[in-house]
Amino acid sequence: MKTVCVHSYKGGTGKTTFLLNIAGILAKQEKKILAIDYDLRAPSFQSYFKTTKQSFLSHYLLEEKDVNDIIFPCKIDERANLDLIFSSMEFLKQHSKQRDKLSRDDAKYLAKMYNLQKNVEKKYDFMLIDTIPGFFYRSIDSMMISDIIFLISTPSTSNVLGIDELCNNIYTMLQKETKMILIINKIEEEGVEADKEIFEENLAKLRKIGKDKFSAVVEVPYFNILSERIHAFEEQPQEEFLKSLQDIIKLIE
């Protein structure tokens, strides 16, 4: 089983859309997929999959439920299945701030995620983790246990600066075996960021960072408007978008 984590410096980069569409394509190829919503700050799997289930990742982390009790199968079509772990805001309410000193709980959550990975590794081909953007301990946990990290960034100024910080402080410290792939989501933002020159300048910076510090860089068309949909199963899918995702999948298979 390969563990893939999708991270970003800021929110709104299309991280969850990217992850679930990758999951959808792999599922359609009859791969066994487990997708985990570990974005405890803004859990959003519920936007894609309506669920009334009340078992979340936080229950497992807080040792209230077993791993098998929080996994929910989702049938996408006749052949494709996707197993999902949802999150709620519960956990964040209890752990709203990173403490000044590391606690034993922090090590426990890393161990819990590691144990989850070990528990499911024979059952799935891919475990995909959606993380909290930024420098959060739980994001670091996800990255630590991953074989492949996708960092998604838009060409906004803050994202470019943030990516640089992430690279210098976090990614360089990760194990060499971890494959790092930069995904540039070419969103054109409003206001100052809408300036074409700034956009191109930031894009160039991102490309340079990607070339210098990542295993691969892939640019995908603006797909913010495609969010909350899994296009591989759409009747009229966005072919360009899907094609770029299939190219990405080749990098991780």
């Binding site: 090590a107 420098f135 670091i140 630590m144 976090i170 410290m173």
Partner: protein, 453 residues
């Protein structure tokens, strides 16, 4: 404001880096395995020196007792030829058509005593590692035990009198030994059978008033009967681990019998042992002969392992035998070291007892004498100075030849946790203490690491 945000951001990054560094260590520990395996790998990685030291100590704690404190190795005795010729002689000259031993060529009858002695000798030889026809022995032992068991040893069908108590207990001892020979191929001797014979014996001969073995309707009791009971009960307890049977608690029974020996048969002032006590006149009679002392020695040595008490130790009595009954040439005499009564029977039993008490230096001297002076015409003579060879004398010869190897096996079988040289040696204690200290040190280190998590 912007500076404040920048500072916050830097603090966050610093914390994230610290967390990542700590998490990398934690993940490495997790990846190194689960449970004991993980802890061992972790130990090996972070405490290499300590683990190497522990491993060396562990190996030493195993190797030192094995190499330096191991019991005598069982090797096939060069006495093989003596064993072969003697067995051939018994099977050809002293065995009837049904396969039972006969007293001698003119008196072609058998007796319970002879059958008990034969099965004991065969059982010891079979266990001692000599090359022999195992099946032949097993058949003969089974046949004898079957016949004896039908009479529960107490009376044999052709007897006018009950079996002497000495043989009753020797028969029980034989049963215990034969069980080890027959258990692989047959269930002829079950634990229940041994228990039944033991119960019947105790019910028949144990006095209701005192812990005393006494023949029925007799005014006298005998030292040999008490010591045989002590030997058999102690051996049964040590070999089976059972110290209780149908209302009889053996350790207190054994202590009671030792008290009886002390009260009726031993004068502690003069250090004299008597072989008979007349209860009607309250008198100890007849100085104990060597046979009494030999069996008292072995009985006491086994009873001592059950933490019972007697005024003298088994080694004292063994030394007393050497002083009073063994001459300069290592012949064991019947009544004193200067009499003419040198029987193969006493040599054989003294060899057996010496080896059982781990006094191999004595055992080997007497055994050498038996092969030099008693071995004759492919068998063993009964008494020095005479040339009579009987089935019984040959069987004693076999007992003497088997004792060395068999006693090692017998002593190793005992179930009770008896302090041994290895377990109480200073080296073992030293190693155990060091290992305990190291384990405590590692354990404390582990707790500190866990707290850091």
């Amino acid at each position: 404001m912007k500076k404040q945000e920048q500072d916050d951001s830097l603090t966050e990054i610093k914390k994230a880096r610290e967390y990542l560094e700590e998490s990398q260590k934690n993940l490495a520990r997790l990846k190194s395995g689960k449970g004991v395996r993980r802890k061992l790998r972790f130990l090996l990685k972070e405490n290499t020196l300590l683990v190497i030291l522990l491993s060396i100590l562990l190996i030493l704690s195993i190797v030192i007792p094995v190499v330096f404190l191991r019991p005598d190795q069982i090797i096939v005795d060069p006495m093989q030829e003596h064993v072969d010729t003697t067995i051939n002689l018994i099977f050809t000259n002293f065995t009837d058509n049904s396969g039972f031993p006969i007293i001698n060529e003119t008196l072609q009858t058998t007796s319970s005593e002879l059958m008990i002695l034969s099965s004991l000798a065969y059982a010891l030889i079979a266990q001692a590692g000599f090359e022999h026809n195992q099946e032949d022995f097993q058949t003969k032992i089974s046949q004898i035990i079957n016949t004896l068991e039908n009479d529960t040893f107490v009376t044999y069908e052709n007897r006018s009198e009950p079996l002497p108590i000495f043989y009753q207990f020797l028969g029980l001892y034989t049963l215990l030994q034969s069980k080890y020979v027959l258990e692989a191929t047959s269930d002829i001797i079950s634990s229940a059978m041994i228990q039944n014979v033991l119960l019947k014996t105790l019910e028949s001969y144990l006095s209701n008033e005192a812990s005393l073995i006494i023949p029925p309707n007799s005014n006298s009791s005998y030292l040999i009967d008490q010591v045989m009971a002590i030997w058999v009960l102690s051996t049964y307890t040590l070999l089976t681990g059972n110290d209780w049977l149908s209302g009889y608690y053996f350790e207190s029974l054994i202590q009671g019998l030792l008290d009886v020996v002390s009260e009726f048969f031993f004068n502690s002032t003069t250090n004299i042992l008597y072989q008979e006590y007349n209860h009607s006149v309250n008198e100890s009679r007849t100085l104990a002969e060597v046979e009494n002392l030999i069996f008292f020695t072995v009985a006491l040595s086994k009873a001592e392992r059950l933490y019972t008490y007697f005024e003298k130790s088994s080694y004292n009595i063994h030394q007393q035998i050497i002083n009073e009954f063994v001459d300069d040439k290592w012949f064991v005499h019947a009544s004193n070291a200067s009499d003419e009564e040198v029987y193969v029977k006493n040599q054989a039993y003294f060899i057996l007892v010496s080896y059982l008490m781990n006094l191999g230096n004595v055992g080997i001297e007497v055994q050498n004498k038996i092969t030099e002076s008693f071995s004759m015409n492919n068998g063993f003579i009964e008494k020095i100075g005479e040339e009579d060879i009987t089935c019984e004398s040959c069987l004693y010869g076999l007992v003497a030849l088997a004792s060395k190897n068999w006693s090692v096996i017998e002593n190793q079988r005992e179930n009770v946790n008896i302090p041994t040289a290895a377990s109480v040696s200073p080296i073992s204690i030293y190693i155990t203490v060091i290992m305990m200290l190291l384990v405590i040190k590692v354990w404390r280190k582990k707790i500190v690491i866990r707290r850091n998590w």
